[in-house]
């Protein structure tokens, strides 16, 4: 298959490209004006013509749900898909802590510019300035929109909206709805989506999994899906396709993501020509409940907001097994407060996670296996009373107790880092379009706004900015520009994609080997966590690159998928996802190996300062890595989009 990739040289833009296909299409002009100017310059689709365009939206999380609802309101003919039984269950529902917005309702010095700056710095200077500025700008509209939909954000007694602080920021700009912010935002988007389903502009296809993208004449023109109840494999054609299919943390098997989160949609798009950007940038969240045994199926996050009032510590002495209450104050090491006095317990995630790993590696970890640190609320309870703490975090404390059987009001929580979020994703330009024209990517599935590390409460913001505001504008421009023919199901490319998916599905069922899908997934997870997790080395990554292809070989010879393809078959669903994770794992290790610097969540042991902090190398690595598929992950070709900083000076990221 050939893909037309005419280099588009854009004279307006100030960015230089290592590869012409990676034209970010950043509008010219001062950063504050780029988005408004771009909105004005983009072509529009006449309202009366919109229903003639079909747009496929895969994913009903914050990004996809918001995009589908808004495009439906605008009058487009939208086809939406999700793998859950209801759009309301997308993984966004699990977000706890909050959503950032530069409202400055606190009058504490916040502004669009500060949110922009914090996000660029938080991302360790590996994100595109123009995208991040737009995100900060749109953040304020998101809160307005959500309140209008009936999202019950926390309020003060005055009736006005309340805020809290999150890691990596010194202002209180996080809006929240108790510990269930993602749930409330998603229900808001789901309600708007439901309204459009009732209005007939959106057709919702639940329990339907996307298994391929249809590319015709170099453009994305539809998708192939499998109905998860009947097993029917079908094609859907459209004028444009949006992927909002979330992140790929589950490549590690154990993560805080929902069990069904997968990379399949993004990976199939990658195999059809969409470049995959920064696959090795993963976020390890510092506050999760530690693993309790081999049966562990997923990890549970304890919201970062807990670090507002909880203090993190371990014993000063390695091997100190006393109960926490019996360790006197002067024998405790509040290592975050010690090492990062100005941010203390609110140091960003990558830094806090690494610090936890370091103290555990020194033998000072607590709990079974020594893989844990304390998160202690006793000071806050003394200061504010148990009721105040219950009002702030009651549901999180209850959750902790349900899972561990321990009461965190009485003894400190035990926490340990866990994989949580993936900053990498499909490469997109300023319009959120991938390297396949007509294929747009929003939310966690794209790579765009968080650089090498995402700040807390910024994923919800990005998902909704993409869904409510960015995609509905940029897609219109793409459609109005036109230049492609109508196609229907009979097109040979549609048939070819259908056949490929059918054959692959059958192949998984025919192997009839001896090992379960989960056993392969766990093994992959172990390899990834060991060699491509919190800290990475050349040696380890090279070793992983030997192990993963062997695992892939075994998988395709020995996996056991029982049952048939014509019915609900959860093992078959998992098998397809794990097959893709194995390939992605290889690309992640290649990307991590290639980036011989430390930045954000990517820590290369070879690149650190004498006191163990990450050492960035801007001279050699100030770029986005974008990988092109060439038949096999081992053959993927690296393209680079150079990052230029015109507004923010590249600086060492310090939270000391």
């Amino acid at each position: 298959m050939t893909i037309e990739t005419k280099p588009q040289v854009d004279s307006r833009s100030s960015v230089t490209y290592t590869d012409a296909r990676l034209n970010a299409n950043i509008p010219a002009g001062p950063i504050e004006q780029k988005w408004s100017k771009h909105k004005f310059e983009m072509k529009l689709v006449n309202p009366a013509n919109r229903r003639k365009y079909t747009i496929i939206v895969v994913g009903t999380g914050l990004a996809g749900g918001a995009a589908a609802a808004t495009l439906g309101e605008m009058g487009y003919n939208v086809q939406a898909f999700c793998y859950q039984d209801s759009a309301r269950r997308a993984h966004s529902i699990a977000a706890q802590g909050g959503i950032n917005a530069a409202k400055n309702y606190r009058n504490d010095g916040d502004s669009v510019y500060r949110l922009f700056y914090d996000t660029i710095k938080g991302g360790d200077f590996r994100a595109r300035e123009a995208n991040v500025y737009r995100l900060a700008e749109l953040s304020v509209n998101i809160i307005d929109q959500c309140v209008a939909q009936g999202v019950p954000f926390a309020r003060e007694y005055s009736g006005y909206l309340d805020n809290r602080s999150f890691g990596g920021a010194q202002v209180a700009r996080t809006f929240y709805a108790r510990g269930q912010t993602g749930q409330q935002l998603l229900i808001g988007a789901y309600q708007s989506l439901s309204r459009q389903v009732a209005a007939g502009t959106v057709k919702l296809n639940e329990r339907t999994e996307m298994l391929d993208v249809i590319v015709i004449d170099g453009r994305a023109r539809g998708i192939i899906t499998r109905d998860m109840v009947t097993g029917k494999i079908e094609s859907h054609v459209a004028d444009a396709v949006i992927l909002a299919t979330g992140g790929y943390s589950n490549v590690f098997y154990l993560s805080t993501n929902a069990k069904g989160c997968n990379v399949t949609a993004a990976w199939r798009a990658h195999k059809r020509g969409a470049f995959f950007a920064n696959p090795c940038y993963t976020q390890i969240h510092p506050t999760c409940i530690p693993v309790s045994g081999d049966h562990q199926s997923k990890l549970t996050l304890m919201s970062e907001s807990l670090r507002n009032d909880g203090r993190v510590w371990v014993p000063k002495q390695a091997g100190d097994n006393r109960a926490p209450e019996q360790i006197p104050e002067d024998e405790r090491d509040y290592y975050l407060e010690r090492r990062y006095p100005s941010y203390g317990n609110l140091a960003p995630r990558d830094i806090s996670s690494r610090a936890a790993k370091q103290v555990c590696d020194e033998g000072r970890g607590v709990g079974p296996g020594g893989l844990g640190v304390y998160l202690d609320f006793s000071d806050a309870i003394k200061r504010l009373g148990e009721n105040a703490i219950r009002a702030r975090y009651g549901n999180l404390f209850d959750m902790y107790e349900r899972i561990t059987g321990e009461n965190p009001y009485k003894s400190p929580m035990r926490i340990y880092p866990a994989v949580h979020y993936t900053m990498g994703g499909l490469w997109v330009d300023y319009n959120l379009m991938s390297t396949i024209p007509g294929l747009f990517v929003g939310g966690e599935a794209n790579f765009s706004d968080h650089g090498a590390n995402r700040l807390g409460a910024s994923a919800l913001m990005q998902g909704l900015a993409d869904g409510y505001f960015v995609l509905p504008s940029t897609i219109g421009n793409y459609l109005a520009t036109g230049g492609y023919d109508k196609v229907d199901q009979s097109h040979p490319a549609v048939q070819e994609a259908l056949n490929e998916v059918t054959q692959r599905t059958q192949k998984l069922l025919d192997i009839n080997g001896t090992r379960s899908v989960d056993s392969f997934h766990r093994e992959l997870g172990n390899i990834m966590w060991e060699y491509c997790g919190m800290s990475r080395t050349k040696e380890g990554l090279t070793h992983a690159l030997k192990l993963i292809p062997e695992l892939r070989e075994q998988f395709w010879n020995d996996v056991r998928v029982l049952g048939s393809g014509n019915e609900l078959n959860q093992e078959l669903e998992k098998a397809g996802r794990v097959a893709d994770f194995i390939e992605l794992g290889e690309l992640m290790c290649r990307d991590a190996l290639e980036r011989a610097e430390s930045c954000g969540g990517h820590f290369r042991e070879e690149s650190q300062t004498p006191d163990g902090e990450a050492l960035r190398n801007d001279d050699e690595y100030c770029y986005v890595s974008a990988w092109e598929h060439m038949g096999d992950p081992s053959q993927a070709v690296l393209h680079k989009e150079n990052l230029e900083f015109e507004n923010v000076k590249l600086a060492t990221r310090s939270y000391k």
């Binding site: 859950q84 269950r89 209008a148 009936g150 069990k259 045994g293 049966h295």
Partner: protein, 252 residues
């Protein structure tokens, strides 16, 4: 510990189901209930038998995907706990546990423990929203909302749409689910313009879907993992009465 589980196995919507007995050894008290089913499924696969199908996703008690009837109780009967958050430490060595899908006419079984809860989505589509198109919103702080109303709206908004209320109700009524949504939106100033049509349309859809009537038994709220209170059903009834009297018009 060792556990015996009696699980409802049903190949698809058209075939009849039956209870099948399995033994699960090496159950750790730290396992969640679903992790125990994972372990059982691995055993089944090793023996060449098909795994038991069950819905689940977040495993954190928030997505509302999971939900089975355990020993006769929706989600197992532990207060404020979804099936995925139920842990094996609440069972003891040698226990025999019966696991069945939600049983309700409006929730047909798809396979084993998986049911079709699409009726809930259709109730929301009938009116469970505020018609605030993207881009039309005023500044978020332009309408203060009394903290008490906002908190109460939040309590109702916590519903995860799991369906346990229906499964627990002898009449298989969806009243608690519907009341939660009607109350969430009806308690906020933004939800006022559509308040009357909302309740009328949602209740009409609830009836169309084949859910039973509410006779104030209260099993729903007892089974609800989010502890949605019965007082919200009172709110729905008041709204319904008011709306019926004016024929849905918001001008009294």
């Amino acid at each position: 510990m060792k556990i015996t589980v009696n699980v409802w196995r049903q190949k698809n919507a058209k075939t009849k189901g039956t209870i099948v007995k399995y033994n699960v050894d090496h159950v750790s008290p730290d396992m969640s209930f679903l992790e125990m089913l994972d372990v059982l499924n691995q055993q089944l696969i090793a023996r060449g038998e098909e795994a038991i199908a069950f819905d689940h996703d977040c495993r954190e008690g928030i997505c509302g995907s999971c939900g089975v009837v355990i020993n006769g109780y929706a989600h197992g009967g532990q207060q404020a706990t979804t099936t995925c958050q139920l842990h094996m430490r609440s069972f003891k060595d040698g226990d025999e546990i019966t696991v069945e899908p939600w049983r309700a006419k409006a929730f047909p079984v798809i396979k084993d423990l998986v049911v079709d809860r699409g009726a809930f989505d259709r109730i929301i589509r009938a009116g469970g929203f505020i018609s605030a198109g993207t881009g039309s919103a005023p500044d978020a702080n332009s309408t203060p909302v009394a903290k008490e109303s906002a908190d109460l709206a939040f309590d109702a908004a916590q519903c995860i749409g799991c369906g346990a209320c229906v499964a627990a109700c002898p009449n298989a009524s969806a009243m608690l689910f519907t009341a939660a949504k009607v109350s969430h939106l009806g308690l906020l100033p933004q939800g006022q313009p559509e308040r009357k049509t909302r309740v009328l349309n949602m209740v009409a859809q609830m009836d169309t879907e084949g859910f039973g009537g509410c006779t104030n038994i209260g099993e729903c709220s007892a089974a609800c993992p989010k502890e949605i209170g019965l007082h919200f059903i009172g709110r729905l009834n008041r709204d319904l009465l008011g709306a019926s009297l004016t024929g849905g018009s918001s001008v009294d």
